[in-house]
Amino acid sequence: MSLQVSDLKVYYRTLAGDVKALDGATFSIADKEIMGLAGESGCGKSTLGNSLIRLDGRMRYVGGSVNLDGNELPVWDNQGMNEFRFRDVSVIPQYAMSAMNPTRKIGTMTAELLESRGEKYREIKPELLRRIDLVGLDRDVLGRYPIELSGGMKQRMVMVISTLLDPSLLIADEITSALDVSTQRAVAETLVSFRDHGFVKSMIVITHDVSILYQTADTILIMYAGKLAEKAPTKTIIEGAMHPYTKMLISSLPEVGVRYANKKLSGIPGSPPSLLRPPVGCRFRARCPLAFDKCVEEPPFVKVARDHMAACWKVTGSDA
């Protein structure tokens, strides 16, 4: 087992109170597993991803544990996490492309990052060049500024840099959503090849594009309003989801060939609840067509079939 997260809770401090953006997540990721993470905007995907590597000043660790390859990660301790970042866990943040320092050449930036981790740029450079070749970039990107690279080039460069020290876990947050279809494909396939080459052991790929996950992920985890809703192998989520939310999410995807004039797709009626004062019981209750009296209690996230977890009373039976 590569990653084991148990009852992890991370809230945002605000003047109005705590925003319960990640409210008790328990799941694991196996060696070599690429896990997709999907769910509506604001459901806590980035919060989950960021919690595994860096809590910013506004985030508050409330409870739970994270174990990576048998080591407890001190996620509540910003200092203590330093020795794991980049070396064991690495992240490609949402909007990484716009966050690259515009005044530094790519090579300089990489060198600084490595030195800050106590590594020698000179020693790692041959491997860096090999990987730049591998993702199909020109070696001279090292001498260029971020602004000179296209979105897809930047994205692949960020991937190379963040996995240089062969971390065990890579978290990629929406790294394909701003790219056009052909670049998207190249970047997604690069992700998979990094796993295949052993540059990273396992991966969390956060995206709104479930069709990209169908192409790349082994399993998919669906979140709703700060909680986990369902996790299963990719094919099962796409073709045999059990949680009502997952089913509605999947059926709202426009497939190639569907047209508004012929078949009007519908989103999920209503919007997710406020995470400041989330409702008790199942958080999907107000929008769920199957809700019944038991749903005022919180459904546990439990095994419902082989390799298949879900949190729904309709699926587990109300006496589970």
């Binding site: 945002y12 605000t14 999907a38 769910g39 509506e40 905007s41 604001g42 980035s46 506004r58 949402q94 909007y95 716009s98 993702v135 199909g136 020109d138 990107v141 296209s150 979105g151 897809g152 080039m153 929406e174 959503s177 701003a178 790219l179 056009d180 279809v181 052909s182 670049t183 998207q184 494909r185 190249a186 997604a188 396939e189 709104h208 594009d209 479930v210 069709s211 990209i212 169908y214 192409q215 796409i238 509605m248 999410l249 999947i250 709202s252 995807l253 426009p254 497939e255 190639v256 060939g257 569907v258 047209r259 508004y260 009007k264 797709l265 519908s266 989103g267 999920i268 919007s271 406020s274």
Partner: protein, 328 residues
């Protein structure tokens, strides 16, 4: 209503601006009232440049854009303000539209001070409420928040809501969907469809072919600033004629078919070889895997001509029907 007539845009690049990069070349199409036109192309193909010219954010190098018969280049002063009352844009990266030191809803209050300063507060609040609900935002969750307290999708929808406050005739929506989740995407798309039902014309810029196909009546496929194929959406997608359009359609990630299987099918049909196509030679694929930047065309060489393949369906080709021609 909105009409582009042989529009070109050359950017000055290189030291001292000594070189010209042809970002858009000889592009003509119309966006009528109650119509969605999707402008599809890869990164760097000139989509945003076209949107910016329509929004008067950059100059037009050659050709003209007219709105209701009026040339937009000639608008100055007060005429520009009333142009923006009817023509607005929403852009891809929601963060760049916000100033982190102000509350996010300042983008709405600015519209009030600019255009509705004499409207009663309660009336204004109702208007804002309706606009937010139209984009499925809960006013309580997004008003009075700083940008960093909202997710990317929430910020993006706030910008669409902002555009809805005005009495729009034309909306330029530049990649507004990519930051949204599937369910919100459909809500926003259906909202755009509703707006077109009420007579708005929408220039829907996207790299996502299935979204363009879902919503638009007309499709323009752009490649390195020139039109590769254009026409009624069902014709362009139902009977893609240009080898480039076909290649693009095959890269779309599908939900029940893997890329490798799509490749295998193409190979089984004899391959996607664009072989002798002159268009492909003049505008070679950017080859994302090799990471070379967009090819720089200069303003001296001529774009291909648009040839009619059937009613409402045109293709950019140098010599349709010649032995070298791959259009089929």
């Amino acid at each position: 209503m909105l009409s582009l007539n042989r529009v070109s845009k050359y950017y000055k690049v290189g030291t001292f601006g000594g070189k010209e990069l042809a970002a858009v070349r000889d592009v003509s199409f119309d966006v009528d009232a109650g119509e969605v036109v999707s402008l599809i192309g890869e990164s760097g193909s000139g989509k945003t440049t076209i949107g910016k010219m329509v929004l008067k954010l950059i100059d037009i190098s050659r050709g003209s854009i007219t709105c209701d018969g009026q040339d937009v280049t000639g608008l100055h002063g007060g005429a520009v303000k009333s142009y923006y009352r009817h023509v607005q844009g929403v852009f891809q990266d929601p963060f760049s539209s916000y100033n982190p030191i102000f509350k996010a809803d300042r983008v709405l209050t600015m519209i009030r001070s600019e255009y509705f300063s004499d409207m009663a507060r309660s009336e204004w609040n109702d208007k804002v409420d309706a606009a937010l609900r139209a984009v499925t935002l809960d006013p309580g969750q997004v008003l009075n928040k700083y940008p960093h307290q909202l997710s990317g999708g929430q910020l993006q929808r706030l910008l669409v809501a902002r555009a809805l406050l005005l009495d729009l005739k034309i909306l330029v929506a530049d990649e507004i969907i990519s930051m949204l989740d599937a369910s919100t995407r459909i809500d926003v798309l259906n909202l755009l469809a509703e707006l077109k039902g009420r007579g708005m014309g929408i220039l829907f810029i996207t790299h996502d072919l299935s979204l363009g196909n879902y919503i638009s009546e007309k499709t323009v496929i752009l490649r390195h600033g020139v039109i590769a194929e254009m026409g009624a959406t069902d014709k362009v997608f139902g009977n893609p004629t240009h080898p480039y359009t076909k290649a693009l359609i095959s890269s779309v990630p599908q939900l029940h078919k893997k890329w490798a299987d799509v490749d295998a099918e193409i190979l089984a049909r004899g391959g996607a070889d664009t072989g002798t196509c002159l268009f492909h030679q003049a505008y070679p694929p950017t080859a994302p895997v090799t990471g070379k930047g967009a090819v720089k065309q200069d303003s001296s060489d001529l774009p291909p001509t648009l040839v009619k393949v059937e009613d409402d369906h045109y293709v950019g080709c140098f010599d349709l029907g010649a032995a070298t021609c791959q259009v089929a």
